[in-house]
Symmetry: C2
């Protein structure tokens, strides 16, 4: 299981029911948070995300809409009696931010917090599990900003259990064969593992790119990414504003997805100036048809299956018309 | 118009759809925020609170569940192009907390922020408008903690317009008479203002007491408070835990309301260990019948009228059963 759940898809100012940035990535039993804008813990509760499964948190940059939910979440994990170490990655300054906040608010965590500051993201692996590696990507924003690429490690070829049964291989030998060992059966036959290997399952990947100006060079490093989440703060009509604020337009996000040969594009970090997002969708799909709007609460599967099966659907967000007092981003 | 809207009624850990502490107090056209837990700006949007009306913010203490929403809200006001000065009151350390957070997150506010740290709350007036005064109350918590009393200033006596008409006083003289001046009419009569004065309307008041251990001495200073908001983190069955953590039980909150001769008691800051709050209500009402549970989003009028007219109603909160992973408070 490899999936991402969007917890917030707004830019700097929450609006129309859209919350600050946060996404929950789950790979098998392991949970990761990417960004932690204000209110992330409440969004996790709202959408039933398991706090206990959280293994590491990846912060792209220290602008408030990406990190102001972190102290509260860390506090809550402590009050929830978490014992396990939690690993937090982010740009330089993250440690001081957390230390200062906890100093002034007299907070103390009861579990070990390991903070890793990434000075120069260079596509190297910063974290891994037995089945997944996380790389840090350089982004172009007004402050130090890191993208994250979650890439599945090479998988074993499929084991052809049916063929093994037909060959009268006892089940007790399946595990050794699956792990790639040759075995000698009680009847003297030697079975090479390749004989029972089917195709190797594809490795899926998820890239998170926010906040950033359009950075075409990323396409090469993100070749064939299964799902690209990319910010689309603006429309092309606000291109000048996008450049000025080091953000991207929907068309630029789509161009990157197209040039990277991405499976799908998920757009988010929408400016509060946009009440509806039809413009983003149209603009992106003209460039890259597999473009989708992020909806909060929605779970997107990273893997095989049709768009609909994987959770990518077009729908109208439910929004509160009072949720708009601003033209800021 | 004098009213308070509850934006958050949870204690340290949000649970069951209950959010960290925040209340919006409105007196005529002026808006004040008391406490600003994480997510307060989203709660304001959710319940249609006007950001522009916000004149001052009062922070009781620096525990995260009372202040972690402040940096994000201040940021949003700036991105909303606020120009007017905003006055923030709180305990010592508030200034450094904000300065450090904005330093690390590279935030800069475009409007003047005036921070007043209150070292020793002693019931003196810390803020006033032409019609309202705010006093700082000493509370007993684990860290420096301030309660706030919003007290209407003395009002003018009612002007008996009907009687004035019967006395054939021209309407042009009403305003002078209302303001307490004697007037000489064109027909030579001298009208003393007292002749046309009815009863003086009562002054209403609202006290906010959270977080605090039971502090019976407050009753004397809160005599006849119209509405007392008091934390009721625990039930009497958890009295030892209440004492240990410097919090109050529902019965203690009710005892203070009773001893202060309060009009009504509003309870909040409920521990995440309580899924439902029927116990709090029963425990408090046994001591002080005009006890009520705070419901998020609900607007409570501070003034005349029946409980129902003023917004005090018993209802079942809508909660998400997933909203519970903890026994912490």
């Amino acid at each position: 299981m490899f999936r991402v759940q969007v917890l917030g898809c707004s830019s700097a100012v929450p609006a129309f029911g859209r919350h600050p940035s946060a996404q929950y990535v789950q790979h098998h039993e392991r949970g990761f948070l990417v960004d932690c804008g204000e209110g992330t813990q409440m969004q996790m509760l709202r959408y039933g995300v398991r706090f206990k499964r959280l293994e590491a948190i990846f912060i792209t940059h220290l602008h408030g809409d990406h990190v102001f939910g972190l102290p509260g979440l860390l506090n809550t994990l402590s009050l929830n009696n978490r014992q396990e170490e939690l690993h937090v990655f982010g740009p330089p300054g993250l440690r001081m931010l957390l230390e200062d906040v906890f100093k002034h608010s007299q907070g103390a965590l009861r579990y070990p917090l390991k903070i890793t500051e990434i000075g120069s993201p260079d596509h190297s692996v910063i974290y891994e599990t037995p089945f997944l590696a996380v790389e840090a990507l350089p982004l172009n924003h007004k402050v130090a900003c890191i993208g994250f690429l979650f890439r599945e490690k090479p998988k074993r070829p499929q084991f052809l259990a049916l063929k093994a049964q037909e060959m009268l291989v006892p089940k007790a030998y399946f595990r050794l064969l699956k792990l790639g060992n040759a075995v000698t059966l009680p009847d003297g036959r030697v079975i090479e593992p390749a004989v029972l290997q089917g195709p190797t399952p594809p490795q899926y990947s998820f890239a998170y790119c926010s906040d950033t100006a359009y950075r075409p060079a990323l396409a090469e490093r993100l070749q064939n990414v299964s799902l690209l989440y990319h910010e689309a703060t603006f429309l092309e009509t606000e291109l000048a504003r996008a450049i000025e604020t080091a953000h991207s337009t929907a068309a630029q996000a789509a161009a990157l997805a197209r040039d990277a040969g991405a499976g799908r594009l998920l757009m988010g970090h929408f400016s509060a100036r946009y009440k509806t997002l039809d413009g983003h969708l149209a603009e992106a799909r003209a460039v890259f048809p597999q473009s989708w709007l992020a909806f909060e609460g929605q779970v997107y599967t990273i893997g095989p299956g049709t768009a609909e099966e994987a959770g990518f659907v077009d729908r109208k967000p439910i929004f509160n018309p009072k949720h708009h007092e601003t033209e800021a981003e």
